[in-house]
Symmetry: C2
């Protein structure tokens, strides 16, 4: 059994246990406490952490990209060296399964190494020179300063302590203070320990990376309100993200909250594709819908198509697959309750017809499928609102015009998928044009789940999918969120490069 400090990592050490609120990780399977007693950071802890971060910011600003790259590579190394403990504990806390979590760890370290390269080669940094009006103007960028990271429960590694937000803020040269997610405090401590060791090995300032516990929302709020903080990165619920944004906007000095809030992502199935391969698409979409018990922000929650016999065949095939899917444990009791409430809301929406509902049990949930005619959905746009979990809604349009109208009426989403054959080309062009105004990523003949980590990736999208639709939380461009341009007019390079 592992031993946990249970306290916050501040100024280069796990601090002594204070007087904060105490909490435990809860097993999603048994509902019982897991080993480790965790304690919230006090307001003094947060102030100490922010002073250390502020000081570190002054030092990191002068570091080369190569030095920052080395830190990210070393963090990946430390995570790999403790893979077994990380995966074991993450599985106890999330019940996502060892295979999935091993994959997630590989994604996390791969992301760190990709961002290490980007930092080393300054691929995401501005460098322009112009000679104008008798002056030499150089444009470059500087780190914004300390960044707070709020991770998500559904990716205890890749979108949590060692995830893309932490990696991209560090890659930009910004100190990071993570607020540990209370659904996986043990995994958080283990990952924080790995990052901390990497910082120590390379003699980075003590305030480079810190982590605070805060099961009480007041702790996160105090972090966001601290005058030394310069930006917030958040992955999670609409309610959580917008609450932090409100706090950030109310500061004497407002700061951005880069929040990825998830979405009901549209999947559009065009007629020829439906006619030629409804069984295959039912396989693919059933898998995507139930993957990780549907707990993905890229889950294909809405399936749009023209009604008719092929749509009916697809519906039958999808119901068959979903009925065969095993019931499973969700990440937390809160998520399970919200999922069941979301289904309840949908089933009571005018025009919604249930296609498949799994039996409810005390702890397990199963997939849910409903359908609605496009005309009814346009009258009742609440059916377009995300239900976090393995819930899908089929939206059936009378014709192409109505199909495009539905897409134009959708709330902003992270990703839109289109299943189309060559012969669907003309209609595909119209659908993609409409999707381009409503999503941050368009995928053809793939499911929306599975976000590739790349310099060409954009994991974002119009509100309410995110709060800043021009920013991505995945890929190397995530770094630019934490860099601020600076123009230098006739400043000798010897004085500032």
């Amino acid at each position: 059994m592992m031993d946990f400090h249970g306290t916050s990592l501040i100024g280069g050490a796990f601090v002594p246990s204070g007087a904060g609120r105490v909490y435990h990780a809860i097993s999603p399977v048994t509902g019982e406490s897991l080993p480790g007693t965790f304690v919230d950071a006090s307001s003094e802890d947060i102030d100490t952490a922010m002073q250390a971060a502020h000081q570190a910011a002054g030092e990191l600003r002068r570091y080369t990209g190569a030095r920052i790259g080395d830190l990210l590579d070393t963090i990946a190394e430390e995570l790999d060296a403790h893979a077994e403990a990380l995966v074991t504990r993450a599985n106890e806390e999330s019940h996502l399964g060892a295979a999935r979590l091993e994959g997630e760890l590989a994604r996390t370290t791969g992301q760190l190494r990709l961002l290490a390269d980007a930092a080393r080669n300054e691929t995401e940094r501005l460098r322009r020179t112009d000679h104008v009006g008798g002056s030499t103007l150089r444009l470059l960028d500087v780190p914004v300063g300390p960044v707070a990271v709020f991770g998500s429960s559904n990716f205890p590694l890749a979108f949590s302590v060692p995830g893309g937000d932490t990696a991209s803020a560090l890659a930009a040269g910004c100190p990071v203070i993570v607020k540990a997610h209370p659904a996986h405090p043990g995994t958080s401590e283990l990952a924080a320990g790995a990052i901390h060791r990497a910082c120590e090995r390379l003699a980075f300032p003590a305030g480079t990376f810190q982590m605070i516990h805060g099961v009480d929302h007041a702790t996160g709020a105090a972090l966001v309100r601290h005058p030394h903080l310069r930006a917030v990165a958040f992955t999670g619920s609409h309610r959580g993200g917008t609450a932090l944004a409100r706090l950030a906007n109310e500061r004497p000095h407002p700061i951005p909250v880069y929040a990825e809030l998830g979405a009901a992502n549209p999947v559009v199935l065009l007629s020829h594709a439906l006619a030629s391969r409804s069984e295959v698409m039912a396989d693919t979409l059933a898998e995507s819908l139930t993957l990780g018990v549907g707990q993905f922000c890229t889950n294909p929650g809405l399936m749009l198509m023209r009604q008719g016999p092929h749509a009916e065949a697809f519906e039958r095939a999808l119901v068959q697959r979903l009925a065969a899917a095993p019931e499973a444990v969700m990440l937390t009791e809160g998520i399970r309750t919200a999922y069941l409430a979301g289904i309840e809301r949908l089933t009571h929406t005018a025009g919604v017809v249930s296609c498949h509902q799994a039996d409810a049990s005390d702890t397990l949930v199963g997939p849910s499928l409903m359908k609605i005619r496009a005309a009814d959905a346009l009258d009742e746009p609440s059916v377009f609102t995300e239900v976090f979990g393995p819930a899908g809604v089929l939206v059936l349009a009378d014709d192409e015009v109505e199909l495009v109208e539905v897409i134009q009426s959708l709330p902003g989403a992270l990703v839109g998928s289109l299943f189309a054959d060559e012969a669907d080309g003309r209609e595909a062009v119209e659908v993609i044009q409409a999707l381009s105004d409503r999503v941050g990523r368009i995928v053809v003949n793939h499911v929306p789940t599975g976000v590739l980590v790349s310099a060409a990736q954009h994991h974002g999208g119009p509100y309410p999918a995110t709060l800043h639709d021009r920013e991505t939380s995945v890929g190397t461009r995530a770094i630019t969120r934490f860099l601020r341009p600076l123009a230098l007019q006739d400043v000798p390079e010897a004085w500032f490069a």
Copy 2:
């Protein structure tokens, strides 16, 4: 005498006069009404305009960069063709002088032509391709949609109707709705007419460019609240910009307000420069401080230096120049009142000593110079707050450490100037490092006024200088504020390019 429609330009025509609040342009010299009766847009007008803009957005999204570039070039052509009328009316409304306004018009058309080139060559647009995980990922960007522009009174052309915000939004392919500044409604109508003729000549949609009148704040508020609006660009006061941002954040679907709010910009004079050329610097800074009656967001409001005989010599030389500066008319009575109140506030601040105050008259103002010891300024940071107009504050530090401490304590500013000789090099490095955290542009041995229009420019800066410190309102990068990235995974180029 010119004839004015006086109404809003909506859907391709100046609408009939409605029931809105009526106003006139006021001559800053005589306080009398100038020709032309202007009337606020009604809420129906605004809705009509936003519907037209929404429709235009759908069309502009499909236009090539070449077509957009042609529009911007044609706008410049139309402005040039009506230069005399524009400059005459702008001078009547602003009293900035014909020479200055001719220069400002040249800046405005030059800016339009630079942005035309950027649109044509897509220099500011994302284009990346990556092959990863068996997929082809293409990253590009799309226009965000309709943009509202609120111009400033101190640049009736370059930061108003035909200014950088309008030009960069159009360059991104976004329809623009300008809220005319009530200090220069006639200039606004003339410029709007020029843009409108360019749109007609090239057969752009009627909703491409529109302008509404709104002397009543409720009109601008209705514009910002309209659900079809996607972004706001604002140049003006802190109070105005933050009020719009509050409205924008309270929308069901929040949108960004790219606001440039001005600042008290620091000028740092290092010791060798002070010793070798205090007279020359006094000339230069007196001119910069009084240019356009100090009504520049880049005005050198704070002058920081180490105290001693050279600082005293500089102070004497500066007072001499300012005492010789003619008194002048400010843009509006509101600005004059605020300027006098700002000086009053400064003179009653603990530790502030007056060096020079011009006599006040009923309509004219003159420059003001005050000084304060750095230690006192650190105790009373309100002296670092901008006074819009020809007011300067000398901040006198005991030593280099205190000088850097003052810089670190400054609120965010648009630009910091450093006057330094070769021999000041070591200290210059420290000062520039400190400035890099507090400003958006650093200038060596130049005044802060005069913002070059370039691909390498950044006219922005940390809060409170702007509300989005990563964005610029001058130069080609201004375009990126109105573009949103979109990732395309295995989307055939024939379906979306």
